[in-house]
């Protein structure tokens, strides 16, 4: 083991200097409200803050621009007490007015911006807009006094207020939003064009200010916000540099061209450490599963068959051989840091004989299914789809399941086919956005017409109802019970997919960088970072 990090980790750190951080792509835009991509969120996390923030290094909600909040009895009215003396980068005051302005801006989205491609996060989290075409979770925001707002919801949800910690719900300067026409999103051909605000003038309250975006060079430059209300950033300048090729990122770090980068491939971890770089492993906050689509092959609607699949897969081996250090075998459909997790679930050991037996019992000895796996992609939960697929393929063939392998590019048909239920078996997963079970389970199963085709089994609708009920349960303890129950049933009775693993994504930084706290949500803030010489 190297002595990495320890000596550079003195809390004070020095101020000044420039840090260049390699990212897999250039940000799409800088207005987090419209964003869906990692590079944008990474940048906006430095420029903006929300009412709620996550505690560094965890997925726990913590005060952000709101110092505190409370909920009414019925769970529908939330009162936020805002931090005082905060200014946006353009000098505009942050106050209740500004906060409600943001809520209203989101709710009153019109036109092209209503597309799920633009405001997908709003629609996932809050539902519809002011035009009431679809029900909305949000009802209103009222200014109680300059530092207090009241947000009314239409129903209770366990997600609130954690969701406000998502970068999308960052507070943006009303002046700048208006000045640069922040809401003028237009559809152009197959895609959307964003206003000047989103491309050139993001204005928030965060520790860094937007300096410039050199598109030709793929670099975004941020500078320290000297008027920041909290602990000021140590770096003078923070540069995010797009290096799409993973190997190129690694080499750039090795050559000293950049000071760190995100998501080093697990296979490189050891090598990077050996070279003296600091590897920051984030707590795993994701789930990787083998999905089972019940739509096309009737045999897959038989629990025994699904159990046979679960027994066939050597999850331990997979984790051991294919996944990075710190990865764990998944027993629930979300990591143990999330509410409602329980280890009291049926476990499926690697047991090929049992799998064969189960298949025989179900009369499915000659089960033949298609097995989808994605190319041209890596995800934090799935660092090497090809190798992982190969492993699982071997497992399944060992128990005599005939596989018709289909590989498609991630964006070139894979997701589409999987979403449309064409895949009988498939590899997929989820990166958690915030710490509630619904962020995982709700996304997977609450619509019975999902990629697993649970609607084809009688319990599909039941599961959906159970999830909705749990989410609307105001009482924490009751809710915990409900989720534990769901988790148990998911493994023992439903088994719509085989949860495989939680694998920790990592960050790597140079030896002379200190103060970076890895976050399970991959939304590190760089204001604590300092760089030595």
């Amino acid at each position: 083991e190297s002595e990495r990090g320890d000596d550079g980790g003195d809390a004070g750190g020095q101020t000044g200097g420039t840090m260049t951080f390699g990212t897999e792509g250039a940000p799409k835009l800088f207005d987090p409200f419209y964003a869906t991509d990692g590079p944008t969120f990474r940048t906006s996390q430095q420029i903006f803050e929300g009412l709620v923030e996550f505690k560094p290094g965890t997925a726990e909600a913590a005060p952000g621009l709101a110092e505190s909040w409370e909920n009414s009895e019925d769970g529908l009215t939330w009162t936020f007490k805002l931090r005082e003396g905060v200014k946006f980068h353009d000098g505009t005051d942050f106050n209740a007015e500004a906060a409600c302005f943001n809520f209203e801006r989101w709710y009153n989205t019109t036109g092209a911006a209503q597309s799920p491609a633009v405001t997908g996060y709003w629609q996932d989290n809050f539902g519809g807009f002011a035009d009431k075409k679809a029900p909305s979770l949000y009802e209103s925001c009222t200014v109680s006094d300059p530092t207090t707002i009241e947000v009314k919801l239409t129903r209770y949800t366990s997600k609130f207020p954690d969701i406000l910690g998502l970068p999308s719900w960052s507070m943006q300067s009303p002046t700048a939003l208006e000045k640069y026409n922040a809401n003028e999103v237009t559809q152009q051909g197959d895609s959307f064009a964003f206003p000047e605000y989103a491309t050139e003038h993001p204005t928030g309250t965060g520790p860094f200010k937007f300096e410039r975006y050199d598109e030709a060079n793929g670099t975004v430059e941020l500078v320290r916000n000297d008027d920041y209300w909290g602990e000021k950033a140590k770096l003078d300048k923070l540069i995010f540099r797009a290096i799409p090729d993973e190997t190129a990122r690694k080499q750039a770090l090795e050559a000293g061209d950049i000071d760190g980068y995100d998501l080093p491939g697990p296979a490189d971890w050891q090598d990077l450490e050996d070279q003296g770089f600091q590897l920051l492993i984030r707590p795993a906050f994701n789930i990787f599963y083998v999905g089972i689509g019940q739509k096309n092959v009737p045999q897959l609607r038989d629990l025994k068959v699904r159990q046979a699949i679960a027994h066939a897969i050597d999850r331990e081996g997979l984790v051991q051989q294919m996944l990075p250090e710190g990865a764990e075998v998944a027993e629930n459909f979300y990591p143990d840091t999330v509410f409602g997790w329980t280890d009291d679930v049926q476990s499926y050991d690697h047991d090929p004989d049992k799998a064969k037996q189960l298949l025989a019992d179900a009369g499915a000895q000659n089960l033949s299914v298609n097995f989808y796996w994605p190319t041209e992609v890596t995800r934090p939960y799935m660092p090497d789809p090809r190798a992982m697929f190969g492993f699982i393929q071997g497992n399944l063939e060992d128990v005599g399941i005939k596989l018709n392998v289909v590989s498609k590019p991630w964006n070139g048909g894979y997701l589409e086919d999987v979403d449309q239920g064409k895949a009988d078996l498939f590899l997929l997963g989820w990166n958690g956005d915030y710490n509630t079970p619904d962020n995982f389970l709700g996304n997977f199963f609450s619509d019975p017409n999902n990629r697993f085709g649970t609607g084809n089994s009688p319990w599909g609708a039941t599961l959906s109802d159970e999830l909705k009920a749990a989410d609307s349960e105001v009482d924490d303890e009751t809710r915990q019970g409900m989720y534990e129950e769901i988790n148990k049933k998911l493994k023992a009775e439903y088994l719509p997919a085989v949860p495989i693993s939680h694998s920790p994504p990592a960050l790597v930084i140079a030896e002379n960088v200190s103060g970076l706290v890895a976050s399970p949500l991959t939304d590190e803030k760089f204001n604590t970072v300092s760089i030595g010489s």
């Binding site: 993973e246 090598d271 190319t375 190969g390 492993f391 392998v405 498609k408």
Partner: protein
């Protein structure tokens, strides 16, 4: 566009001119080739490679798709099976025997090269023959299409085709690489055919009252094949390299149980600094084989070039 097409035409015509001396040229060329060390070296490589590809199922110690050394793999620590008893080259990233993969890989590589060339050749043959033999509007239509294809740089075309198959596999790679060659072959063949069409011996056959079909297949086509065959040798090398490039860009055959050098190289580059040998072996193989075909093709071309015969 025209410069490129002109060049092909010039070559075709040049070759057609050469060919009027026919068999004797071939014989003389062969005599020269037999003594040409460059050709012999290239041919030796090619022969060795083909032999390897044919014999590899018997030569390879293990099933190249089986992860027999899987337990020694720990991705997280970047551990792969080192060379050991029975596995002189060790294992690959997921624990398959590297030696077996290299050996068997020759089959796929040969297949890519040969099939791509065959497809390109056949496609070109059909189009070129149609255009060259029928002339008139058929010629115009075919050649316009060919020109459009030629107006996209080769690799870009291959990559585009490769990328745009919804479900890439070995065959789509071959097809992508082959498609690039079709217009070249077509143009080359048509050029020679056209030169043949106005040549005296074809005119003589027409004067004799020989049927058009017989003229095309007995006289024009055989005499036009020279440059096309030389081109084929070069295309073999190009297809192998192009296929490797496609694999590198992630557009290759996703199923890696059947090994292919290009794909192995593409995959191995991710870990080139920690396990360089994973990349060096397939890279060396590709380079040597491509060099073999190139040497052979270039010396063949030179031997058939009338200008080099003074």
């Amino acid at each position: 566009m025209s410069t490129r097409t002109d060049k092909i035409d010039a070559l075709a015509e040049q070759a057609a001119r050469t060919d009027s001396a026919g068999v004797s040229v071939a014989a003389a060329a062969w005599r020269r080739l037999r003594r040409n060390p460059v050709f012999l070296f290239g041919a030796a490589i090619v022969v060795a490679f083909v032999a390897l590809a044919l014999l590899s199922p018997w030569l390879a110690p293990y099933d190249p798709g089986e992860r027999m050394l899987g337990d020694q793999v720990i991705r997280a620590r970047d551990q792969i099976p080192p060379p050991q008893e029975g596995h002189p080259l060790g294992g690959d990233q997921v624990g398959r025997d590297l030696l077996s993969r290299i050996l068997i890989g020759s089959q796929q590589t040969l297949m890519v090269g040969v099939l791509a060339t065959l497809i390109g050749f056949t496609g070109g043959l059909v189009l070129g023959t149609l255009a060259g033999a029928l002339g008139g509007w058929v010629d115009t239509v075919v050649m316009r299409a060919v020109d459009v294809m030629l107006s996209i740089p080769g690799l870009l075309l291959a990559v585009s085709i490769g990328a745009l198959f919804s479900q890439p596999n070995q065959f789509t790679v071959i097809l992508a690489v082959a498609m690039v060659q079709v217009p070249i072959f077509a143009r080359l063949l048509r050029g020679s055919m056209l030169a043949q069409r106005h040549s005296d011996h074809v005119l003589a056959a027409r004067a004799l009252g020989v049927r058009q079909r017989a003229i095309v297949f007995r006289h024009m086509l055989p005499n036009s094949l020279g440059p096309v065959i030389v081109q084929s040798t070069l295309v073999l090398a190009i297809s192998i390299i192009d296929a490797a490039a496609l694999s590198f860009l992630g557009l290759g055959n996703p199923d890696d149980r059947i090994p292919e050098w290009g794909a192995m190289l593409g995959e191995a580059q991710k870990a080139i600094d920690s396990h360089p040998h994973l990349a060096y072996w397939p890279a060396a193989c590709i380079i040597v084989v491509a060099l073999g075909f190139t040497l052979m093709g270039e010396s063949l071309r030179e031997a058939l070039d009338p200008k080099s015969r003074r």
